[in-house]
């Protein structure tokens, strides 16, 4: 029996966060804590010949690569990012060392007086040097040679900064001889691993505890590992509590962002204008170090045909090395970039063929049982048509589309369909993550369970707890579920990849079910439940062949816009969204994801402008890098259509990233109708819209 998701419960952290009682990393007062401030390189690329450190007062320290205990590498997927830039610096602002001391004012002066001699090399800022290349085929791309017509276009997307409310912050101290970390984070075990790796120490010498976290969006998936490795190097020498917290301009200037992208698509058409197949190349700007860019590229390529099925494909992609701040995780992880490209391409191709864009796209829409672009199978029921019908009905799409088609209407309504693979790519959940969940019950029937999932605002402390409460059928206050602590919890994996509910939620339900089955009143009982994925999921990361995900969530966004012909400003008049997230566990929490994800996507599409000039970001303050305010967002309507997924908790799939991936193409589609021009690039700022509107092609 599925719980009634219409009844939302109060989020467990609501009161603390609303009242200000919640303790974030920066709120923790620790006697004798020293400030740690980065000393950053001042050139984009070159040899570091010598670092000049001023005479340090008593109690002040300079920690650099010379102090590395074991390995000068930060443990990320590809560990090419050093803890401290040593012989070379690969981007302007790379940390060469830390100035550490009790008075932050004094530390700032010492940082300002520390400098390096360099031998400068020629930096590269454009996407031309590939450091990761991937390619795969589907069907028989040699058939492209027989095409009657070829239609090609290029698409570009820009950087995006996470603007989490709480900037990066970390406190590290020794508890006995145990390195203890409290930080703003997404993945406690990533931090744990990064410290163990750079120090070469045993796992039980490190403990990571999660305080309240104010937003992450992917920006706290990897970067905290770097901070942790730096502080760990220092704490081994100094043996005093250390605190590092970035100011906003520092956070914007030097921490990871969404990859800019350039995507080229060609359609090969037969003489009846049927698509024989597509050739797609996705390029992403990875910045100075690969880090997680190879996986972002994978995700971008897997998503490159979005909700369409083509018989023949030639797909390739490159992550490019540039002398800029490394790009990394951000909600959607590569797929928003390629989904923007394919959605716009399909629409433009319809225009080229002079057929109705929606009908044309519908012709290629995936159906249950279709072969995915990586030659896997869409096994679970696909309900795209009902999702589209519902969204069109909610928005009065057909009437508006017709009405705004009159030239000079300056209004437009646009639609996107999209999917998002939930959980780690392929069989990664079983082969890489191997989540294990510990759940125990005391003599009084009080149940405690642990995960490594961080609640950074998305509500999983509430939802995961609800899954256990509902499964056991016991009162809510009989279940204890606290924030992660690596000394208490087994790893249930990172809080990323829309995996929390579909994977960990499923694990929670299963563990609770097992506990229920063996439940004996008055006894202490404990279960360790391992994750077991669907056995049919097989994936080869090298060849990019097989089932890319354990499951897919689906959605439709409709966005209505108006353009001011005097100022070229775009106003969003309304949004209507429908989602298939399996079975919704708590609709209010989901609406929070839906509204927030779409607002963030729309910001990326028309407002948020981050431009790097000579390897340095021009917009480094919140007054210059602007995100939407409540006044910029219209009333947003959202509906969920039930389609339970057998492996998720109560049939739930992922939702965190799904709500982001379709916003940009829906907005761009609407903008195209409003101004009668093609939009191949985002963000569509007023400056860009002016260029488009005055472009008399």
């Amino acid at each position: 029996m599925l719980p009634n998701y219409k009844t939302s419960v109060k989020k467990v952290d609501n009161e603390d966060k609303m009242s200000g009682l919640a303790i974030f990393t920066g709120d923790i007062q620790m006697d004798g804590a020293l400030f740690a401030l980065p000393v950053r390189s001042t050139i984009s690329y070159g040899k570091i010949k010598e670092i000049h450190v001023p005479t340090l007062p008593e109690g002040y320290y300079f920690i650099s690569a010379k102090d590395i205990v074991k390995e000068n590498v930060c443990n990320i997927i590809v560990s090419d990012w050093p803890v401290f830039a040593d012989k070379e610096t690969h981007y302007k602002g790379e940390t060469m060392g830390l100035i550490i001391g009790p008075d932050k004012d004094v530390c700032i002066d010492l940082v300002n007086k520390t400098y390096a001699d360099y031998e400068e090399y020629e930096p590269v800022y454009e996407m031309k040097n590939s450091y990761v290349h991937k390619e795969f085929k589907k069907g028989d791309p040699s058939l492209f040679n027989g095409a009657a017509k070829v239609y090609s276009e290029e698409f570009e997307t820009g950087y995006q900064e996470q603007i989490y409310l709480e900037t990066q912050a970390m406190l590290m101290y020794l508890d006995g001889d145990k390195i203890t970390v409290k930080a703003s984070m997404q993945c406690p075990f990533y931090i744990h691993k990064a410290i163990c790796r750079t120090l070469g120490c045993k796992e039980d010498k490190v403990r990571v505890i999660q305080p309240a976290v104010g937003g992450a969006f992917g920006g706290k998936e990897h970067y905290p590992s770097l901070m942790a490795a730096q502080l760990a190097t220092a704490i081994v020498k100094i043996k005093k509590p250390l605190f590092m917290c970035f100011d906003r301009h520092e956070d914007i200037t030097f921490t990871t962002k969404r990859h800019p992208s350039k995507t080229n698509i060609s359609a090969y058409l037969d003489k009846n204008n049927e698509i024989i197949g597509l050739k797609i190349h996705v390029g992403i700007d990875g910045g100075a170090y690969i880090g997680c860019s190879m996986v972002v590229l994978s995700r971008a390529l897997i998503a490159c045909t979005n909700t369409y099925t083509f018989a023949n494909l030639e797909v390739s992609g490159d992550a490019y090395c540039t002398n800029k701040v490394p790009s990394a995780a951000y909600r959607g992880f590569g797929s928003p970039q390629s989904i923007f490209a394919i959605e716009m391409f399909m629409k433009h191709l319809a225009g080229f063929l002079r057929v109705d864009a929606l009908e044309f796209r519908n012709k290629y829409l995936v159906k249950t049982g279709d072969i995915t672009c990586t030659s896997g199978v869409f096994r679970d029921p696909i309900i795209l048509k009902p999702l589209m019908d519902k969204a069109m009905e909610m928005s009065d799409y057909k009437r508006k589309r017709e009405e705004y088609s009159k030239p000079g209407s300056l209004r437009g309504i646009g639609i996107s369909t999209f999917l998002h693979g939930c959980g780690f790519t392929g069989s990664g959940e079983s082969t890489i993550i191997n989540a294990q969940l510990k759940i125990k019950k005391d003599k009084n029937g009080i149940v405690t369970f642990y995960t490594s999932q961080v609640d950074f605002g998305q509500g999983n402390r509430t939802t995961l707890k609800r899954i256990v409460v509902d499964t056991l059928g016991i009162p809510e206050d009989h279940v204890i579920y606290d924030a992660p602590d690596t000394d208490k919890t087994l790893s249930t994996g990172p809080t990323a990849a829309s995996r929390t509910i579909i994977i960990v939620g499923g694990l929670c339900a299963k563990a609770a079910q097992h506990l229920k089955e063996i439940w004996v009143d008055g006894e202490e009982q404990e279960i360790v439940e391992p994750y077991v994925g669907p056995s049919y999921i097989k994936w080869d990361e090298d060849t990019m062949q097989g089932d890319a995900y354990p499951g897919y969530a689906w959605g439709v966004n409709i966005v209505e816009v108006e353009v001011d012909p005097v100022t070229y400003e775009l106003s969003i008049l309304g949004t209507w969204s429908t989602y298939d997230v399996g079975h919704a566990i708590d609709e209010r929490i989901l609406v929070g994801q839906a509204d927030g994800g779409l607002a963030q996507a729309l910001g990326w599409a028309y407002l948020e402008n981050e431009v790097a000039e000579n390897g340095v970001f021009k917009q480094t303050k919140m007054s210059d890098y602007v995100i939407p305010t409540s006044l910029d967002m219209p009333h947003m309507e959202t509906a969920f259509i039930d389609n339970p997924f057998p492996y998720g908790a109560f049939g739930a799939k992922g939702a965190g990233e799904l709500t982001f991936v379709g916003g940009a193409p829906a907005l761009a589609d609407a903008l195209e109708q409003a101004i009668g021009k093609k939009v191949n690039k985002i963000p569509a700022t007023p400056e860009f819209i002016m260029e488009l509107m005055n472009d008399e092609d």
Binding site: D105, V566, V611, T629, L631
Partner: protein
């Protein structure tokens, strides 16, 4: 060593000013940002600070016998918005400045003292010939806001002077205003345009134009304005007015926009307002 002085009265402040070269702080919403160093660290001032924000004797809004509105220098934006006697055009402009919490602290005199090209309240102040009263231990003088502001961050204030009052001279104008920022709230102006006019018996008896954020300070040109005064409204040649202002508007590229956009939108706004002005004669 930087000193921070909180005077007990205006006279006390003037005495302090006569012997100190210092920053004068009202709400601090701009100075504190300019001098900000890092979280948990005090801002770094290179001169002493005189904090006049709490001087009650400079917090007033009143009307003189000629119908001019006199605003004490330390009156907050939020108080101006609540006042029934502050002219609507100022409220229209103030409502789009920063956020409610900033407006609870910030003052119009701060916007004048800053002399930023993007200072929104400067646009109506300069268009309406508003004045500032400067005081020192040696006496008092009155300058037009347009005379007070000399350039980017440059003003006519002498070291021992402080602005004590803003005078909004009585006007009989109708206004057309638009601020263009990156978003609908809490944004720094990319370009703004204000047109003020008065029509009597189908004649344009007053005509004024001001642009914000598209030059080193607010752009206003009396020579151009005078050319179009006392003509029949129907004879107002929109293209000619635009060509008059075309070269005067000299925006720059920065992290918020580019000069092509700012120039084009400034001209578009002027055209829109001129057409509205012409269309409105039959009202």
């Amino acid at each position: 060593m930087i000193n921070h002085y909180v005077p007990t009265s205006l006279n006390d402040a003037l005495k302090y000013l006569s012997t100190h070269d210092c920053y004068i702080m009202s709400g601090g919403t701009d100075l504190m940002v300019q001098k900000h160093v890092s979280s948990l660290v005090l801002p770094r001032f290179d001169k002493d600070v005189l904090y006049v924000g709490e001087l009650k004797e400079l917090q007033y809004i009143k009307e003189d016998k000629d119908g001019n509105i006199l605003i004490g220098a330390e009156t907050k934006y939020a108080d101006l918005l609540l006042s029934p006697i502050v002219p609507e055009i100022y409220k229209t402009v103030i409502k789009e400045i920063a956020s409610p919490n900033i407006r609870n602290m910030a003052t119009m005199v701060g916007n004048i003292g800053n002399a930023s090209p993007a200072g929104d309240s400067l646009v109506p102040l300069i268009l309406n010939d508003a004045e500032v009263v400067l005081k020192s231990v040696n006496g008092e003088r009155v300058l037009k806001v347009s005379e007070y502001i000399l350039g980017v961050k440059k003003t006519a204030r002498k070291n021992d002077e402080i602005i004590v009052e803003i005078r909004l001279l009585k006007q009989n104008l109708r206004y057309l205003y638009r601020k263009v920022g990156a978003r609908k709230a809490e944004s720094i102006t990319k370009v703004s345009c204000l047109v003020g006019y008065q029509i009597k018996e189908k004649k344009l008896i007053d005509f004024r134009v001001a642009f914000g954020s598209v030059g080193v300070t607010i752009i206003r040109n009396l020579e151009i304005e005078n050319k179009y005064k006392n003509i029949e409204v129907k004879d107002l040649d929109v293209d000619r007015v635009i060509s008059d202002y075309y070269q005067l508007v000299t925006p720059i590229d920065d992290q918020r926009s580019n000069k092509e956009y700012r120039h084009k939108v400034a001209m578009n706004l002027l055209r829109k307002f001129l057409l509205e002005l012409k269309g409105g004669i039959d009202e």
